[in-house]
Symmetry: C2
Subunit: 525 residues, 2 copies
């Protein structure tokens, strides 16, 4: 048993002196042991000081050593075994297969970043050799590489206790970039966090890295979170959560004497456009896929399809009927926490009591506490366009169908959407022209556009963009999932006419690490 | 004669209805014709509306068409001929060779971005092909490219009337990224701005682009600048200027309902470290190079060497004597504007009247108004470390030598530096260990580190970083000079399982534009 109710500061395990934190089993309402005692500014201070010290050596680890460290974290997490899955099940109410899958994804993600580190493209090596004979002025030797920004603060998310938490995508990509990480664990799954944190801590020791490469703190947002973001040694922030939480961190980061980037992935209702031919030809099948995506994980995904947009008519009526039947037949699932359940109920009640909204269906209430009963609602595009509360995210298995008078109104709805993580097109061959007309608008609204699939299920790969315009995220230029996430924690440095003895390995003529380079503007493999 | 005192909104030329703006010849104090009448929110509105409309087509121009447009701008600027140089000389007080060189740099920069656009690496094409047989879950086809952020607001800088102004680096890189540009011209050189603006306007027409791709406005910061940054269609801001100006734009951009990135290049004192062996061996020669760099363009460069750091002793005394002689012998030069001259005088007076600062030398006062007399000052490291006013930028040919007790104190000074654009090492072979000890600190403080050269003179190339940690710039992850500047105006979009008919050219299987791609994590040329 390795759960002791402690924070991890470098290689130490400590207890705080602030308010107690207990995990609650959302399925039973039962309070779980052990007690976590929230940290204070003193723990933030120690973790950041260690991180700053560790940055000096960690940022210059060789590619192989850094990749091995990421792989060691993955092995250590796998080595925890079933204790991790059982604790996560108890703390989150999520079922075993989902958590086993999430563990696989988390470890796969760490290994993907190991391969990215080894390939070295993230260094973006550029060499413009000296041109001593150029006229009117000679050119001196100029070389560029990227280095880590510095220590990074990562906020664990509630809805992915493994993949977006202690050793999730933010942590993996920051470590890959050479940045030490101080995690604020989510209070809803402290035991899961501690188990994973200890795995990272062991990997740090096994790889003989400076201990400050990783720390894990617990506590309230005010005590720990704000102090972390304000700490002068922290150079970037990774966050997945609510819009209010994300914008608060953005404001704190901007108000620092030295502002720093915040990568906050906040809210998205992931519109799905049902184009006419597809709707006509296979509305019921689409409804089936839709209800499956809506209910996945009790709808507690950033990519949950919370909005469906189509032109009204018989085909849409048939879709709504079929989707309504699917929702009615679906059994409620346990939500992640009492707070999330309460917010979901509130969001659904706002919709069902809204004068301009028609409730189509609610799911079956099953047993246990904090149950998410799916909900399907309908509103007209005209009302949607004039009432921005209908664009608010309801975190959970609720979705709103927006009925448009015609294609033109569908275009207007598209144009009025807020920034999104994803937008989906359900389309057949005959819908290509309609899709082409929509696409330029959709590209400006979302980080990912998909056809004939569902937005839930975010592949961890090189081409993924889990990002999008504000308010989906705080920074549309980035992704928080996939290998490109590493770029969030890097900055370029140019070295002009430095003696070979001073040049970093990656920039030396001999190219000892065999990295792809841009030499005088030409790519050399 | 093409100077008419007008703003350019798309293909129109208009006059505003706010306060009059006149260029002043800084060498004579003479007010120049014509009168420019500042624009108001109405002109911002029209320029932004046109830019938004133009974005739809401009962002999807083919690589060749976009590159040709950038080259056409360069030809049109060259086509203005001597009128441009003479007007710029009169408006800025800068000498002919400098402005001819700057014109060459500006046009070379546009052509560099043309080559960057053609090469297509900026699209960062990534393809992760479908893996239908993968278990436990198949992978669907995922493709990524980058697209322009949207219309960009560019603020012309006073100190480079061509290279950092209407068609300077910010405009060139934004246009290269597929973003329309609305420029707020600098009030100190409106005639130069109008001439260049009309050249861009002609290039837009010749290339048959949507007229809103480019507009040029004049007016006070409050009327035009703030309105531009607040306009919901503007998606990014490029700025070179003072720290107060840059931070004001940052605050406005963050306070928008949708915050946007601001790329502000603000202030830097560009420390020069004189390492012991080099100082001992060639202190006088270094002094000569230093005074040359200090006086270049009357010190009105973001990269002017405003701070010299060395260990005290005979060698440093000899350097200070030699540099002092050089400064004493230097003849004053006309500064860009009365305002800049006034600020310089104030900065130099603060130093010369500072109790802890010793004035070593002032240059000769030559003829004409707004003259910059170079200044050289000395302070102890102990005083420098305890008085942050000594780190303030004095924009002009003034520099402060910081005398350190020993190598350790030199390290402390390095650690206390604010973010910088550049840091220079003067070093010989015997200084390598000292340089190695400093380097990790310097990398965290500056965007460019150079050895045995001078920071003035910023090469426009692929490896250049003209950027650095706050307050040198607002965003250390970027550069405003060199081909990597294009990345500031781009964001990634992922396309999942889109039918070939909907895929942008760059992502189609056939790769019709022959762009380098990352396929399943492997680089294909």
């Amino acid at each position: 048993m390795t759960i002791r109710g402690e924070m991890l500061i470098g290689q130490q395990a400590v207890s705080g002196n602030q308010a107690d934190i207990h995990a609650v089993n959302p399925a039973t309402g039962e309070t779980m042991e052990p007690t976590y005692v929230g940290g204070s500014k003193a723990e933030v201070e120690r973790a950041c000081e260690l991180a700053e010290t560790a940055f000096a050596s960690y940022r210059e680890t060789g590619l192989e050593a850094r990749a091995t460290f990421l792989e060691t974290i993955a092995s250590e997490i796998e080595g925890i075994g079933d204790e991790l899955i059982e604790r996560a099940m108890a703390e989150t109410g999520l079922p075993r297969p989902r958590l086993e899958g999430e563990r696989g994804r988390t470890c796969g993600q760490l290994r993907l970043f190991a391969s990215v580190v080894r390939a070295g493209e993230w260094l973006d090596v550029r060499i413009d050799p000296a041109l001593p004979d150029r006229s009117p002025m000679p050119r001196t030797d100029l070389r560029q590489r990227h280095i880590g920004l510095g220590p990074v603060a990562v906020f664990g998310a509630s809805n992915f206790p493994l993949a977006f938490s202690v050793a999730g995508g933010d942590t993996a990509s920051a470590l890959a970039a050479g940045c030490p990480v101080v995690v604020k664990g989510h209070s809803a799954h402290p035991g899961t966090s501690e188990l994973v944190g200890r795995a990272v801590q062991r990997a740090v020791a096994k790889c003989h890295l400076a201990e400050g490469v990783f720390s894990l703190l617990f506590g309230s947002g005010k005590e720990i979170g704000q102090a972390l973001v304000k700490d002068p040694r922290i150079q970037a922030v990774g966050f997945t959560g609510s819009r209010s939480g994300g914008t608060a961190l953005m404001a704190t980061a901007q108000a620092r004497p030295q502002p720093i980037p915040v990568y906050a992935e906040m809210s998205s209702i992931n519109p799905v456009f049902l184009l006419p031919e597809a709707l006509e030809a296979r509305g019921e099948k689409i409804a089936e896929g839709f209800v499956g995506s809506l209910n996945m994980g009790a709808g507690q995904f950033c990519t949950n399809p919370g909005l469906v947009i189509a032109v009204k008519g018989k085909a849409l009526d048939a879709f709504i009927d079929a989707a309504g039947d699917g929702v009615k037949a679906s059994i409620s699932q346990t939500m992640l926490s009492p707070g999330i359940h309460q917010a979901y109920e509130q969001g659904v009640n706002t919709l069902s009591s809204h004068a301009k909204v028609r409730e189509v269906a609610r799911g079956q209430l099953g047993e246990g506490a904090n149950q998410c009963c799916a909900g399907l609602f309908v509103a007209s595009a005209a009302d949607f366009l004039t009432d921005e509360t209908l664009q608010a995210e309801v975190f959970g298995a609720s979705s709103l169908v927006v009925e448009c008078a015609d294609q033109a109104e569908m275009m207007r709805v598209a144009a009025e959407l807020e920034g999104q993580l994803t937008i989906t097109l359900q389309m057949d061959d005959g819908d290509v022209d309609a899709a082409k007309a929509l696409l330029p608008t959709l590209e400006r609204k979302a980080g990912r556009i998909l056809a004939n699939g569902w937005p839930t299920g975010v592949e961890v790969c090189h081409a993924m963009v889990h990002g999008g315009p504000y308010p989906a995220t705080s920074d549309s230029r980035t992704t928080s999932v996939g290998s490109a996430a590493i770029h969030r924690f890097l900055r370029p440095v140019c070295y002009q006419a430095l003696p070979e003895a001073l040049l970093p390995d990656a920039l030396q003529d001999a190219n000892p690490e065999g990295i792809s380079r841009l030499v005088d503007g030409k790519r050399e493999a």
